[in-house]
């Protein structure tokens, strides 16, 4: 599916840039040539189930499309996982080839580099287009922000069908702010290729490098998590006028963040996307307000339907994964039924004609029988001037079961003591006694997974050695 879209674009808009990475600019035509060579090499290799372990790059995107063209199944592993974890992933998926630039030890699965695949392709006769099976599948690991990742199986046509083709996005330039081993990264590739747009891959998510990439490559569109945008808005002082659209997804956005972004990007429209790895893209809003309109629940004609039971959002979607892959591979695919309502785990509260996100069911902190939603507390803290990021969670306590604690990232130019004092003041003014964080600690950065705050309890004395741009 995706290979056919690339092929069509390569003939129609041959010289239109498709990918810009640290090495070069790839046109649609050049990418199609590279994909065909790689697909040929994959066919010759005989491997059917692949695990890619490499940096986000044009090469990786070519490999994903080549795998689809060659009818292979592929999973992109997290580049920060250890060799042992990678070996476990490959084994659990019954993978028959790991593709990586370097040899990984220990690993029982066959290993190969992209260069070796291309060398194989050059040493044998070329496949004709009709030889390629097509219809390759991808396995995508969930973020695992609240626990262990699960593996979702997707057909490319399901991923591509969720993308809107819009005339105003043709030839637009998108900045990749998600990793390609997660659903949002795949969605970004699908969106770009469907709109014959260009994907700019920054060298890192360091604020200065991202801003430089936006300006030097005239990026027009950027999609990232609220955690990323909050750090960006907190550290960037100058306005960026080339951006026409900013999209937030993966976490709930607060009104103060939306206001900051409007100020920093005065010429950009701001939209929020609600999507999960399992359900795919569910809905988006562009009214600049947090949450979503209640009218979305009333529209039975939508292909994606919503309802709320006991404060939890449920979704029924025609999109989404084929099913979960459990240990053993395809034979143990747990199929998802299209007519199933799925509990998202997201808590919402209706205020007037709007629903607001209140956090995850699994993150609710029980303080002496009183349920506290961390997002409500975080919204209060994040409104305090000088707070760049916040993570509120429960700390086990022998008396009340849990107490609420908070970690905050402060503006580096200001005293963290004064910011913590302001946070305490704000919490005292706006929150109930049970909601107030009893310990507030300034940390250099929050632990993140795929640019989202890692959502599970940790102790106040954790070491915080992982910076915001290095996900685990």
């Amino acid at each position: 599916m995706i290979e056919r879209v690339l092929q069509a674009a390569a003939f129609r808009d041959a010289q239109q840039p498709f990918i810009i990475d640290r090495n070069r600019v790839w046109s649609y035509a050049a990418s199609w040539t590279a994909v065909r060579r790689m697909a040929h090499g994959l066919m010759v290799s005989g491997a059917n189930r692949l695990v890619a372990y490499m940096d986000d790059s044009a090469e990786l995107i070519h490999l994903l499309i080549a795998a689809s063209l060659a009818g292979k199944t592929i999973l992109v592993a997290n580049r920060l996982c250890t060799a042992e974890e990678l070996a476990e992933v490959a084994s659990n998926l019954s993978a028959d080839m790991v593709i990586s630039p370097a040899t990984i030890e220990p690993m029982t699965t066959r290993q190969c580099s992209i260069d070796a695949i291309l060398t194989v392709a050059e040493g044998t006769g070329q496949h004709s287009p009709s030889d390629f099976a097509g219809q390759g599948e991808v396995f995508i690991l969930t973020s695992g922000t609240t626990g262990r990742s699960k593996c979702a199986a997707y057909a490319w046509d399901r991923l591509m069908s969720q993308v809107h083709r819009r005339a105003d996005q043709r030839y637009s330039r998108w900045l990749l702010l998600y990793q390609l081993n997660h659903f949002a990264g795949f969605q970004m590739v699908a969106h770009v290729i469907s709109n014959t747009a260009c994907l700019v891959i920054p060298q890192s998510l360091d604020v200065a490098r991202v801003a430089n990439a936006i300006e030097s490559h005239a990026v027009t569109h950027a999609s990232g998590t609220p955690t990323f945008w909050r750090m960006f808005a907190g550290m960037r002082r100058e306005r960026l006028r080339c951006l026409r659209q900013i999209t937030l997804g993966g976490e709930a956005a607060t009104s103060d963040l939306l206001e900051k972004l409007r100020s920093l990007f005065p010429d950009a429209s701001i939209s929020q996307v609600y999507a999960t790895t399992e359900l795919g893209s569910c809905f988006s809003t562009s009214d600049g307000l947090p949450g979503f309109p209640a009218s979305l629940l009333d529209d039975a004609a939508r292909p994606i339907q919503l309802k709320v039971i006991d404060g939890e959002l449920y979704v029924r979607s025609v999109n989404g994964m084929s099913g979960y892959v459990s240990k053993g591979g395809t034979d143990s695919l747990v199929q998802k039924r299209a007519d199933d309502w799925v509990a998202t785990g997201d808590l919402v509260t209706q205020v007037g004609d709007r629903f607001f996100f209140r956090g995850r069911v699994s993150e609710t902190v029980n303080v002496g029988g009183v349920k506290v939603n961390p997002l409500e507390v975080e919204a209060c803290i994040l409104a305090v001037d000088g707070v760049l990021a916040a993570h509120v969670f429960g700390r086990p306590n022998p008396v009340t079961g849990s107490i609420v604690v908070a970690e905050i990232v402060c503006d580096h130019d200001r005293s963290s003591e004064s910011i913590i004092a302001a946070v305490r003041e704000a919490c005292l003014r706006s929150l109930t006694r049970y909601q107030r964080p009893r310990f507030v600690e300034a940390v250099p950065s929050l632990k993140t997974v795929n640019r989202k705050v890692r959502r599970h309890a940790s102790t106040i004395t954790l070491s915080h050695s992982i910076s915001a741009e290095h996900d685990t």
Binding site: V367, N397, P398, V399, I403, Y434
Partner: protein
């Protein structure tokens, strides 16, 4: 748990209790609180369960352990001090 001479616990426990009281608007001078005054109820210092939860966390942070985690629901500053003295000995 930090091993301290028994005399070292009292001022630190008093300071922590005063801090918890200050958080709920009761100003007490550390050292002036009667060791055997009840921590709870109208006839005592007036802490409730949430205050005690905070007290246990502050004690644990200060000393590496706290009596409440051991099932001892201390009713006075004296009981808290004796818990640490007992552990130190």
């Amino acid at each position: 748990m930090t091993n301290l001479p028994s005399t070292a616990h009292r001022p630190r426990v008093q300071t922590i209790v005063a801090q918890v009281c200050a958080d709920k608007g009761i100003i007490l001078r550390a050292g002036s609180i009667d060791d055997e005054a009840p921590l709870y109820g109208v006839n005592g210092i007036g802490l409730d369960s949430l205050d005690v939860a905070v007290l246990s966390s502050l004690l644990e942070k200060e000393f590496g352990d706290d009596p409440f985690s051991h099932g001892l629901f201390a009713r006075s500053i004296g009981e808290i001090i004796r818990f640490y003295e007992s552990a130190a000995s």
